[in-house]
Amino acid sequence: MPFNDVKDVQKQLESVRYIASQEIATVVFLAVATEKPILIEGPAGVGKTQLAKALSMCLDRQLIRLQCYEGLDEAKALYEWEYAKQLLYTQMVKDRINHVISDARTLPEAVDRIASQEDAFFSERFVQPRPLLQAISSPDPVVLLIDEVDKSDPEFEAFLLELLSDFQVTIPELGTRKPLTIPLVILTSNNYRDMSDALKRRCLHLYIDYPEPEIEMEIVRMKLPGISVKLVEQLIRTITAIRGMELRKKPCISESIDWARSLIALEKDELTLPDASATLNTVCKYRSDLLKVRQQLSQMI
């Protein structure tokens, strides 16, 4: 077992600079222990992708990432059969083929002889593995990140479901491929559409919300070790208040970090109204949000 217990998950994630809440750590622990995929939802920028990266680092496993989009198909996700290469090889070994069948007396016999060489025509060498095949053919277990699975088409989801049920795939030219190792699978979704019940049934679900202020302070302090205690506290308190407003885009963790960074660059160790107002564009990406927040800023600092 890679993790001893839930505490151990937290500790090991922290060693690769990811601060996990008790809930995140518990679900991760269960997923690893039971070899179940995790389906993660949450607002943009709360560290969904980062969690997969951090896990691959602390488990010392390769991270294989499949970014989903509309029109993603098996050829891009699983494997591509290299017809061109196969055809070229066939051409190049034409003479050998003639040799193999040269003393065949009848046509069926010739066909039989070729058939006995079938392995040469249908072999691994013509398979170009894509992320999903890579993930189950790796001799060492990997972390497989299927990012933004909600952007994929329903057909692709159905195919994914099959893969996630036993991790084996069928390649028509080669037959069924059993997994060498079971990957730790992380799926992320931004709720562009709903996933099917069948897919959800296979997974453990985790909703990552904006972090509790204490955790977010810890994240900022970890990324920017020199920052003053007072500044972090004021900043996170203000960010939390901003998130409570109706905005087009709420600030996420990277924005907290960016904001802190720009205030440090200005050599500030506390947050004043004029400084906050002047640097607010690192927090609000839309002009309409910026104006709205600026109006209320004096009450939030």
Partner: protein, 462 residues
């Protein structure tokens, strides 16, 4: 533990969460894997297995609270407290004396079971009541069917609770036990009432909401559609035509780049004949453009009509970007106008919509009824490639909003989008039901002017 989980799962199902047996078993096994140091750990494990989307977590939280926090837990320092077992016995005795299963209504039976700590039947009853449809009434329209169902259920609960409490007061001599029994009964009654009075709820944090954007300039694109001057209509149409051309250009460019699909073996082999069978010239299949089906439901009453008209005009001008566009309009009754609009002269056809005999412009807008009719006419033809676009202000004259129907539609389709033509600061006021309806949408957008409409259409096609 397993037994308790199974009963909890039953309650979840009664409250319309899909929980399978495998999930219950998995969950039980997982509880043995992690140390449960506090309630949060316990709840985390259950939630990861029983609620599989943020949206559903709200229902999970409701059932969880109902099931695992049933009894007012006696505090440790409360010396008079009587053990849970004795309270339970007291309850059993009470029910035995009063409840005769033969002549109990379903509601009474459900509530009695809930008092005993088995809320599944009651949840199921309420759930069915919430999703019951309104009957179509000719003369006076009302939303009384659901309301009266809820009222009689409330009444049954009050009567039963009063009777039990009365009985406890008369017969129970131990003051501590008496107090706890009464507490328990009132607590359950209160829970039951709150389940009935609240609509089934969903978290909406994952909803994409695009509200008003304050842009300094004022021009045709930012003029409110609802107060559009008739003499500006031609300018507007001109402008839409320009936007449509621009969008089509952008699409063509994007499509050209992404278009290359997998290798076309047949073609490649055919070409190879030219080179003594050597496949030098590799041919690719053009990738099938994934095209969405669109179904629109437009409110055409009063000031909303202008926005609906422009949205349909826009959409039909881009019709070849979609595999099919079906359109319905309603005031209170729903009418399909797909055939009418399938002509090159959309703009003219739109002007004729209002004279459709099925449309009674004097009726009061009734969203619930329109959704109900839509469900019966079109639900079967919806699929996971369909995007449903509803345009309206959600002002339904205080009639039953029947929001549950939207949830049923959502389950069938790929995406559900609501366009609201009102300025955002009025969305949640008066008779607007948008707060109920938004819970079932993937996206809620303001479309009070052309510029917002354009933003939306751009996101839809690109």
């Amino acid at each position: 533990m397993l037994n308790s989980l199974i009963k909890f799962a039953e309650c979840c199902r009664a409250w319309d969460l899909r929980v399978s047996t495998i999930e219950v078993m998995d969950c039980a096994a997982q509880l043995n894997l992690v140390p449960i140091r506090g309630e949060n750990d316990f709840k985390t494990v259950l939630r990861a297995n029983f609620a599989k989307s943020r949206r559903e977590q709200k229902k999970f939280d409701q059932v969880y609270h109902l099931y695992f926090h049933q009894r007012p837990i006696p505090l440790d320092h409360d010396r008079e407290a009587v053990s849970g077992e004795i309270v339970k016995e007291g309850i059993e005795k009470l029910l035995e004396e009063f409840v005769n299963p033969e002549n109990m209504t379903e509601a009474q039976h459900g509530f009695a079971r809930m008092i005993q700590g088995e809320p599944a039947a009651f949840l199921d009853h309420v759930q069915r009541l919430q999703s019951a449809e309104e009957k179509r009434q000719k003369a006076i329209k009302s939303n009384l069917a659901q309301l009266s169902g809820k009222l009689s259920l409330m009444l049954a609960i009050s009567q039963m609770t009063d009777r039990f409490i009365d009985q406890v007061k008369r017969t129970e001599t131990d003051p501590a036990l008496r107090r706890q029994l009464i507490d328990h009964l009132s607590d359950r009654a209160q829970h039951a009432r709150s389940l009935i009075s609240r609509e089934p709820d969903y978290y909406t944090d994952m909803l994409v909401e695009t509200g008003d954007t304050q842009s300094g300039q004022t021009d045709l694109a930012t003029q409110p559609l609802s107060t559009m001057d008739p003499h500006l209509m031609d300018d507007m149409k001109e402008m839409i035509a320009r936007l449509v051309r621009k969008l089509k250009d952008q699409m063509a460019r994007r499509y050209a780049v992404k278009n290359r699909g997998s290798i076309d073996v047949k073609q490649t082999l055919r070409r190879s004949a030219k080179f003594q069978g050597v496949p030098i010239d590799i041919r690719y299949k053009a990738r099938e453009k994934t095209r969405a089906k669109i179904v629109t439901l437009c409110d055409i009453s009063g000031s909303v009509w202008t926005a609906s008209k422009f949205m349909l005009h826009f959409l039909y001008s881009l019709q070849d970007c979609f595999s099919r566009v079906r359109s319905f309009v309603f005031v209170s009754d729903l009418v399909e106008i797909t055939d009418l609009l399938e002509t090159p002269q959309v703009s003219g056809a739109l002007d004729r919509v209002m004279s459709n005999p099925g449309i009674n412009t004097h009726a009061r807008t009734d969203y619930g009824m329109a959704f109900q009719q839509f469900k019966h006419q079109a639900l079967r033809e919806l699929d996971k490639k369909t995007t449903v676009i509803i345009l309206g202000d959600a002002r339904s004259n205080y009639q039953n909003p029947q929001a549950g129907i939207l949830s049923q539609i959502r389950e069938k389709v790929r995406r559900m989008i609501w366009l609201n033509p009102e300025p955002q600061h009025t969305w949640y006021t008066g008779d607007s039901e948008i707060r109920q309806y938004r819970k079932h949408c993937h996206e809620l957008c303001a479309c009070s002017n052309l510029s917002q409409l354009e933003d939306f259409i751009r996101r839809l096609v690109l």
